[in-house]
Amino acid sequence: MNSTMLENKVCLITGCSKGIGKAILEVFSAQNAIIYANARKEGDLDEVLENVKDTKAEIIPVYFDITNFAEVKSCMLQIKKTHKKLDVLVNNAGMVSYEMLGMINFDKFREMLEVNLVAPIYLMQMASKLMQRQSSGSIINISSKVAVEGVKGQMSYSATKGGLNSATLSAAKELSPNNIRVNAIAPGMIGSKRLKTIMEDKFEHKLNDIGFGRLGTPEEVAKACLFLASDLSSYLTGQIIEVDGDLKL
């Protein structure tokens, strides 16, 4: 799928080292984007950078913890100084937990709120500053199907992603006068390495709840992300798009 849908578009993707973020980086690379690829630790991107080395994309690895505001700002200043604009922000980095209400670890919950909600809002604030100058941009938040419908055993996680959905809707309304689009993607059960490992132990029977009868792939989520990042979705904002193969929770 070599093409130019994102040619000359400057994109920042958080959490690119594995899973959906890695797939988004690969799909965007195939579209010749200029990508600031974030991961927490140096070396975390080595594998994915090897995968995309033959594309025409320009990839700039940026290593920082998204909950560290000083580091986020430093990255935004780097983008501003180097490329003078930011076209696409993908808030992908996140944490997940599987806990019943009575078993919630509140230290972990607070950490998850920081990663899944507070940090993405700060990234949106910083990104929108750059996007407002150019009067265009697309912000894509990676949410979750469980945030839309709720699910047993993931109350704290679904609450953080539900917050992200609300932030998406409000940001879309606030930023539409500046021609900045804000949308979320709510993946269902995606066959990342992490989920496959958990499924083998706990959730094998859940496949019966998916209309398509199979897990989604990270690439299928990444392609929805490409649609939202590209000009194909130029009149689309304030939407939570479920990429779930007809999953019933």
Partner: protein
Amino acid sequence: MTNLDKFDTVFADVFEVEKSELGSGFSIDNVDNWDSVTQLSLVSDLEDEFDIMLDSEDILEFKSYEAGKAILTKYDINFDE
């Protein structure tokens, strides 16, 4: 152009006033067109001029000409040159 000249130029452009009108009395309380829109425009232009990005707390506190100078000093902008 000194940092103070740059600072004053941005202010004068955003509020459409002469530089001579700027000073300690120039604030949100007595400038008619100082509202949230002009404030964001002011911040945006200063960020571009000095290659910085202000924190939210500083944007909220940016309510006068003098406060602006104090805030920019925190970002290593020197007005004593």
